[in-house]
């Protein structure tokens, strides 16, 4: 494991958090869109497309619709992005040891990531627009349904490593067999849970373009929309890092980080292009019936395995 330590302020603002993280969020969004396009036999956007989108959005006027609480309207995107960036401090970003890790930071990271989704839901509920209200309802419904199985599957490696600290789980994962082979069910549920958290197809009912325009973000334009979108991209990178660190053998250096996360992104892009969109009631049914049961079975298997191992 590398033991490079940089001054805390640099980590927070420039590398590997802060600006570098924002830039890598844009790069990962581009890779995702390009892969989905190639799966659909199209060309896909050029490398600077997400950057151009961000610059364009930041340059446009932000329209505050009537009937909203203006303070809440403007600060929610900032809060959501801040939560997403803070969560990056506790995961092994780019293969470096997390700078600010402490015991129990797995729970904190997951809650910070959920705060992003909660921010989107609140932003939708803030307006009087029908589409945003329906979108906010769907976002929060989806949050309640995938949160429990996703947390349970991230608990599996934590139990094996006997720790709630992400950096320690990372070290443990690096030293044993890849947990994708020892806990396959957990990996599948975690991957699907990640797609639900990021609102990728087939779980994009909260922002279904053909039904409710843009879901909770319909009324947003300009700076607010840019911040929400960057927040989603950052969440993509952090989510990928978490799942890779736990299930695909830990992250020891930047090269491993790049290769493993890009392979996982390839699989996710393939899953995105395979399915039709699930209705929100089908999503909830799927998660609470199949997802939670599978996650519990996996946990049970781990607990019994450890018990037998100790005996």
């Amino acid at each position: 494991m590398t033991t490079i330590t940089l001054p805390a302020l640099i980590i927070l603002l420039i590398f590997p958090g802060g600006l570098f993280l924002l830039a890598s969020g844009l790069v990962y969004e581009w890779v995702d869109r390009k892969l989905v396009a190639r799966f659909q036999n199209r060309v896909g956007p050029r490398w600077f497309q997400p950057l151009a989108d961000m610059i364009k959005l930041l340059a446009k006027e932000e329209i505050i619709p009537t009937g909203v609480h203006p303070g809440l309207f403007v600060t929610l995107p900032v809060a959501a992005l801040a939560a997403a960036l803070t969560a990056a401090l506790y995961v092994p970003m780019f293969g470096f040891t997390p700078a600010f890790s402490f015991r129990g930071d797995l729970v904190v990271t997951l809650y910070l990531l959920s705060m992003m989704t909660l921010g989107i839901g609140l932003a939708g509920a803030n307006t009087v627009d029908r589409f945003s209200l329906v979108g906010a309802t769907r976002t929060l419904t989806q949050l309640f349904s995938y949160e429990a199985p996703f947390l349970l599957t991230l608990l599996g490696p934590a139990i094996m490593a006997s720790s709630w600290q992400i950096s320690q789980i990372n070290v443990y994962a690096h030293n044993v067999w890849w947990m994708i082979f020892t806990q396959p069910i957990g990996f599948v549920v975690a991957l699907v849970g990640l797609m639900g958290k990021l609102e990728f197809p087939p779980f994009d009912a909260p922002e279904a373009e053909t039904e409710i325009v843009s879901g909770a973000l319909t009324e947003y334009s300009g700076r607010g929309l840019a911040l929400f979108r960057i927040g989603k991209d950052v969440e993509l990178v952090i989510g990928l890092t978490l799942v890779v660190a736990f299930y695909l053998g830990g992250l020891a250096n930047p090269l491993e980080f790049l290769i493993k996360t890009l392979v996982l992104l390839l699989v996710m892009a393939g899953l995105q292009s395979l399915f039709a969109r699930l209705r929100i009631d089908q999503t909830v049914g799927l998660w609470w019936r199949i997802g939670a049961v599978l996650a519990l079975i996996q946990l049970l298997a781990i607990i019994i395995g450890r018990f037998i191992g100790r005996v």
């Binding site: 799966f39 659909q40 036999n41 199209r42 029908r130 589409f131 209200l133 329906v134 309802t137 197809p201 087939p202 994009d204 009912a205 279904a208 373009e209 053909t210 039904e211 409710i212 325009v213 292009s273 395979l274 399915f275 039709a276 969109r277 699930l278 209705r279 929100i280 009631d281 089908q282």
Partner: protein, 393 residues
């Protein structure tokens, strides 16, 4: 029905501008959570005054105006008009021209069904199927461009026959294209009937029994999916269909999945017909002489557009311009099949059910003439045009 005194009505408006709609139309769904409790529709956004416009153009010029009522079913509009005018003028069209007209009509049916498959998949969030069907649709559009000269608005019809001929090279290219498309259509049938996520969105949604479909007057594949055997190509054959009989494709369950299956099966039937027409094309001339002044008469012509029965009423008064042309397009018959069955569905199902009946909004908008004893006036084309310009100023 108000059940509670403080039950608010939560109305979700879809359109006139909405990513789900390709053309403007206004729908209001009263929802309770995700369940729809009421639905209403308002059309008329694409009214262009075409029926009035036909009264100030000659018979030949009207052919091209009426072709542009719709982009997807443009050939059948021109075909219905040309057949009607030939009936008015009592002209016999040579059989080779009728066969070529039928060939282009069937190729247009392929184009329309592939387009619809992509759009309906897109409404259900299945973008991959959308991209693939539209990629394969390029094949038939290139064939039509090679045959007629344009990808949409083929303009093969003239009053009395057709403009273009089919030679051996064209026929071979069409056969190859149809073989390729048949492979791909078999694949799409497999995807539509076996993919679990797709079945979850379409199975059992928007079910309509045969009696209900008959009572509401649904036409086209939407009605045939509920078991009605209504197909103008079989009930009242026109053009070259007496030479090349069609087998009607029907379904039994009447839900959204059945509408998909019926349209894909119609594609198989179309491929068979195209091969038959190319193998057994009659020889002869391409046009017949038709006078410029059509004698006074009334005629009706009905054709089977990809969406259902298209109905034209033409009236001539002996001059070079028509007296009245009335167009009734199939989409306008199918709206009730959506609105009546919307209650009880979820909001997420509505775009798919709407696109399941293949609405063509541009075809829809016609003017209703209300004849009151006093106070009604007849406008000329110029007056109608000026009204439209001033309305939006």
């Amino acid at each position: 029905m108000e059940s509670l005194a403080n039950q608010k009505k939560f109305i979700v408006p879809i359109g006139p501008q909405h990513p789900a709609l390709k053309e403007p139309g206004h729908f209001e769904f009263t929802v309770d959570g995700e369940i729809i409790t009421g639905a209403s529709v308002r059309l008329g956004y694409v009214h262009r005054g075409i029926e009035k416009g036909t009264e100030s153009r000659t018979w030949i010029q009207n052919l091209y105006l009426l072709e542009r009522i719709c982009g997807i079913c443009s050939h059948v509009h021109a075909l219905a008009y040309a057949l009607g005018v030939e009936k008015l003028g009592n002209v016999d069209v040579p059989p080779r021209a009728q066969a070529i007209r039928t060939l282009v009509a069937e190729m247009e049916r392929i184009h329309s069904h592939l387009l619809w498959l992509g759009v309906a998949a897109h409404e259900g969030g299945f973008d991959t199927l959308f991209m693939y069907t539209w990629r394969d649709r390029e094949t038939v559009m290139d064939l039509l461009e090679g045959l007629t000269g344009n990808r949409v608005h083929y303009s093969v019809n003239v009053l009395g026959g057709v403009k273009v001929d089919v030679d051996e090279k064209q026929a071979d290219a069409i056969r190859r294209g149809v073989d390729f498309l048949e492979e791909r259509t078999k694949y799409y049938m497999k995807v539509v009937t076996t993919d679990e996520t797709f079945l979850g969105r379409t199975r059992g949604v928007g079910k309509m029994t045969t009696e209900q479909a008959d009572e509401l007057g649904t036409v086209g594949p939407t009605g045939r999916a509920s078991g009605l055997t209504r197909d103008i190509r079989v009930d009242a054959p026109y053009a070259a269909y007496p030479l090349y009989p069609v087998q009607v494709v029907t379904g039994t369950s009447g839900d959204l999945l059945e509408r998909f299956i019926v349209r894909i099966k119609e594609l198989y039937e179309t491929y068979r017909l195209i091969r038959l027409i190319l193998d057994k094309m009659p020889t002869g001339e391409l046009t017949a002489r038709i006078p410029r002044r059509i004698p006074e008469n009334e005629a009706i012509s009905r054709v089977e557009a990809p969406r259902g029965e298209l109905f034209y009423f033409l009236k001539s008064n002996g001059s070079e311009m028509p007296e009245r042309i009335k167009v009734r397009t199939p989409s306008i018959c199918n709206w009730s099949s959506v609105i009546n069955f919307a209650v009880g569905l979820k909001l997420a199902d509505m775009p798919m059910v709407l696109s399941g009946m293949d609405p063509c909004f541009s075809c829809n908008d016609r003017l209703v003439v209300v004849n009151r004893p006093t106070g009604s006036q007849v406008w000329t084309w110029e007056e109608l045009r000026q009204y439209g310009i001033n309305y939006y100023r």
